[in-house]
């Protein structure tokens, strides 16, 4: 049953990453991050982009380090699950980071 957990890891990471980005957004708004600048740009979107990239990196690790054994179908399902999570994180969180304000 380990392969089932491996299959679910990608979508679970998507859920976790969304919660983390959402939380960071709220925290940034509460702490006036949009008004704070860093050498790389405004702190608020910068923090969210960094978190998003870390998340995508974790998704990449899941995909790259996939060592599921078992049958061909099991390996396919684990690979698919990893990609489902990765694509979901990339597609659904990108507009959040690009367009969100504290409004």
């Amino acid at each position: 049953m380990i392969w089932v957990a491996q299959m679910l890891a990608g979508p679970m990471l998507w859920g976790g990453l969304f919660s983390a980005v959402y939380g960071l957004h709220g925290l940034g708004c509460a702490l006036d991050w949009p008004d704070r600048a860093t050498p790389l740009g405004p702190l608020h979107p910068g923090g969210m982009i960094l978190l998003w990239l870390v998340g995508l990196g974790l998704h990449g690790l899941l995909v790259a380090l996939n060592r599921a054994g078992g049958s061909e179908t099991q390996r396919l399902l684990v690979r698919s699950g990893n990609w489902v999570g990765a694509v979901a994180s990339a597609v659904t969180l990108l507009p959040v980071i690009v367009t969100s304000s504290c409004g």
Binding site: M1, W3, V4, M7, L8, P11, W14, G15, F18, Y22, H25, G26, G70, S71, T73, Q74, L76, L77, S80, G81, W83, V84, G85, V87, A88, V91, T92, L93, L94, P95, V96, V98, T99, S100, S101, C102, G103
Partner: protein, 835 residues
């Protein structure tokens, strides 16, 4: 591990007729009226679910015709506004809660054991309880229409419209209590489906070789398990507000109507996929049969199901785009709503590819499949349109949305279900259908449907709002509405003809031969109509398709016949399908209907406002719950059962990972989701709702000490529950069980004391939430106490031993859950106090 290593030697062949008689005597329902009230057989219960849901579908359809009659002309005087409000609310509620969900529950209960190679569902009595709760709840809801007090706030019951101020009658209470009562059956079905799929598959049927229908139902049940609790919680909170004035949704006292919307749509959007996935399972089963090729892209479809299950929980806010939510939520939920089209499309293309690769026989089920493609794809595309925020703002609450949801639900559920019914009717009735009636019904439904709803896209884009009963100032909408209404009547004729076709088949069709569609799946490896026990011997490796019909009937599979005169099923490992043990199932009993009746009495007393008497109903519920444990346990170790040559398996009393254990874990997932939803409510109101912070609390050192003492004795009870199991073979086992029961009882007393110290829950939402958190803890304490008492009885009455554990493992699970959630709840209150 290769299949050879899993190989199981066949049993010697026997006389099929003798096996049939032996099994039928054990598995069939009682004769006469006793069979009606005592049946727990999955075949009977599944068919009852489907037949009852179809009856509700007909009633909902009649209500739809009344709506169309009213809207046919701009000054319709057919219904007054009050009645119109009740009728459209009841139409939506009936179709969602009394037709769609129960229909899929019934289909899965009836079909899953057959297609997975089992004799029954995992929890037969639970299935029967679910049916009776559904029937009684449905009758309560429907009766309100006859008495003129039906819900009238729309099927999603938004507050403040459904609050006491604007809905002072019992209309909203009928919805809240009736739907919650019905949802008992949904959660029960979800638990049953998951455990059946994971633990009752044929020996050697690994998850990766399971028929796609199994994957679809597994996804559906997982979504039900997580999707229904937020709605149940929302209904409880709203009923508490209406009945006792606890202000969860009232802005002036720290509540927020938005909390209801979040809780409702956390259920409401996954609900669409809960309805769609089983229908897609039907399609994935039927299409390869009529295309005469295996399904294309098994793995891709399973991955698509996985994607749908997860993504569907990231969409709910697209129903709330116009309520003024932050840009961030708009962006995320819009993107997720568009993305969900991808896994849906993967399935659509897999089905088209399958048909492309084969030679499609356009029999009646395939006509309905064609109806699905035409209708659902259009609904999906308008769904992508509505996922775009700017368009959504324009079309929100117009008839465009009404058209979209009907294209999705009728296309994605009704057409596939009609295909499924026509496909499996020979197995249900044992007869062929009467020619031509079904085809005529199909064309009437298809033409009538599109005639009704396609035009609503136009009226919606012209600005016609949903739920209005007249439009005297908009003559330009009238001809479109008139045609819609005519289309609705044509569709109704089609459905009437469909029912006639089914009745004719049942009564007058000629006898069907075995496997009339030449399907490859296990469900057709049995005589028609399907016998009460499904398989005379159970399928195993190499004998898990329709071709195994004769060897299985001759008893060459596992567990042939019923030599011990009891209902036995084979329990397997969740992942590999390796045989684990033999479970003995309960036989016919009236306990489910009695339990449903006492549960119904509680809901009726609440509805009548007789709160003082409800403790009597609660006591009756506890009594009924206690009776359920009477069947469990064994006073002696039994010898291993030989399921096949060289394969001896223990009975379920003598293993720890029983079906009951798996079921409890599954139930606690739903329970945990409800609790997480409650914590979400606490967080949401604390951060979002105006009129916070709450007034100063009156909790002091006394409350802190009481809470600490309660948690301490709860911990003692949890440890005692563990020791009661590990020391079960010694005399101290009963002692630990007694200590656990006493500690649990003391913890309940302390929680009661803590409740006395709380501030008045009517004062502010924070105080009301604290009361609910405490009530949640008390409820679980009562359940844990009952399980502890059951374990104590097991120990005292000799139902435990070196191998036999009685109820102790399940008690431990509940005890740990109670302790964990109580620590969190009291922690939340402590943090609020510090903050």
């Amino acid at each position: 591990m290769t299949e050879d290593q899993h190989a199981i030697a066949p049993n010697p062949p026997r006389k099929a007729l003798l096996l049939h008689r032996q099994l039928d005597r054990v598995w069939s329902d009682l004769p006469g009226w006793r069979g009606t009230v005592c049946s727990v057989n999955h075949g009977t219960i599944g068919l009852r679910f489907m037949a009852t849901s179809f009856a509700f579908f007909a009633i909902g359809g009649v209500l739809a015709m009344l709506i169309r009659a009213q809207l046919a002309t701009r000054d319709g005087a057919f219904l007054d506004t009050q009645l119109y409000n009740q009728i459209f609310t009841m139409h939506g509620s009936i179709m969602m809660f009394l037709f769609a969900i129960p229909m899929l529950e019934g289909l899965s209960m009836w079909l899953l054991p057959k297609i997975l190679g089992a004799r029954d569902m995992a929890f037969p009595r639970l299935g029967a309880l679910g049916y009776w709760c559904y029937l009684f709840g449905g009758i309560i809801i429907l009766s309100s229409l006859l008495f003129g007090v039906a819900p009238d706030g729309g099927w999603f019951m938004y507050v403040p419209l459904s609050g006491k101020t604007y809905s002072p009658g019992i209309n909203a209470d009928v919805w809240l209590l009736g739907v919650t009562f019905v949802e008992i059956s949904a959660v029960a079905a979800a638990v049953e489906i998951i455990v059946t799929i994971l633990r009752l598959r044929a020996a050697g049927m690994a998850l990766t070789r399971m028929p796609l229908m199994g994957w679809y139902m597994l996804g559906t049940a997982a979504m039900m398990l997580v999707g229904f609790p937020p709605l149940i919680l929302g209904s409880i909170l709203l009923e508490l507000e209406r009945a006792f004035d606890w202000p969860f949704f009232e802005v002036m006292r720290g509540g927020s109507p938005m909390l209801w919307q979040h809780l409702f749509w956390l259920f409401g959007h996954p609900e669409v996929y809960i309805i769609f996935l089983p229908a897609a399972g039907v399609l994935s089963t039927i299409i390869p049969v009529f295309a005469r090729v295996p399904i294309l892209g098994y793995g891709a479809i399973v991955a698509a199901i996985l994607g749908l299950v997860f993504l569907s929980f990231g969409l709910w806010v697209h129903h709330m785009f116009t309520v003024g939510i932050p840009h961030m939520a708009l962006a995320f939920f819009s993107a997720a709503s568009a993305l969900v089209a991808v896994p849906t499309s993967v399935q659509i293309f897999a089905w088209i590819g399958t048909m492309w690769a084969g030679r499609v026989e356009l029999r009646l089920p395939m006509l309905h499949v064609a109806g699905f493609f035409l209708t659902f794809v259009m609904g999906g595309l308008t769904g992508v349109m509505l996922a775009m925020v700017p368009f959504n703002w324009q079309a929100h609450d117009t008839h465009f949305v009404v058209a979209h949801l009907h294209y999705v639900l009728v296309g994605g559920f009704v057409f596939p279900i009609l295909a499924g019914i026509t496909y499996w009717m020979p197995m249900i009735s044992g007869r062929f259908r009467v020619r031509a009636l079904g085809e005529t019904a199909f064309w009437l439904i298809l033409v009538g449907f599109h005639g009704t709803f396609f035009l609503m896209h136009l009226t919606g884009l012209l600005g016609m709002p949903r739920r209005i009963d007249r439009y005297p100032d908009n003559p330009e909408w009238e001809w479109l509405n008139l045609i819609s209404s005519i289309g609705g009547m044509v569709m109704a004729m089609g459905f009437a003809l469909f029912v006639l076709d089914i009745a004719m088949q049942w009564l007058f069709g000629r006898r069907s031969h075995r496997n009339p569609w030449r399907a490859p799946t296990l469900d057709w490896a049995m005589a028609l109509p399907a016998p009460s026990y499904n398989f005379a011997s159970l399928p195993g490796p190499g004998r898990d398709d329709a071709g195994a019909i004769l060897p299985l009937a001759r008893g060459e599979g596992l567990l042939p016949g019923a030599p011990r005169n009891r209902r036995e099923v084979l329990v397997t490992d969740a992942g590999t399908g390796r045989p684990s043990h033999v479970a003995v199932m309960p036989g016919n009993t009236a306990l489910p209907i009695w339990t449903a009746m006492v549960l119904g009495s509680f809901f009726l007393l609440m509805l009548a406002g007789l709160y003082v008497v409800t403790p009597l109903a609660i006591a009756a519920i506890l009594w009924a719950g206690w009776q359920w444990g009477g069947f469990m346990g064994s006073r002696a170790d039994a010898p291993a059962i030989q399921a096949a040559p060289g394969l001896s398996l223990p009975e379920h009393w003598q293993v720890r990972q029983t079906l009951a254990y798996s079921g409890t874990v599954t139930l606690l997932v739903a329970d945990g989701t409800l609790y997480a939803s409650l914590l979400f409510g606490v967080g949401f109101l604390t951060v979002i709702a105006p009129n916070w912070p709450a007034p100063v609390s009156g909790l002091g050192l006394g409350a802190l000490l009481t809470a600490g003492a309660a948690l301490s004795v709860m911990t003692v009870a949890t440890l005692a529950a563990r020791l009661a199991e590990t020391r079960r073979a010694t005399p101290s086992g009963a002692g630990f069980a007694l200590a656990g029961v006493l500690a649990a009882g003391l913890a309940l007393v302390l929680l009661g004391g803590l409740a006395m110290l709380l501030d008045d829950p009517r004062r502010h939402a924070r105080d009301a939430l604290r009361a609910v958190l405490l009530g949640y803890s008390v409820f679980h304490g009562v359940v844990a106490l009952m399980l502890g008492l059951r374990s104590l009885c097991d120990a005292r009455q000799g139902r435990t031993g070196s191998q036999r554990r009685g109820a102790a493992p399940v008690w431990q699970l509940f005890q740990t859950f109670w302790l964990t959630t109580s620590v969190l709840s009291l922690g939340v209150i402590a943090v609020q106090e510090i903050g």
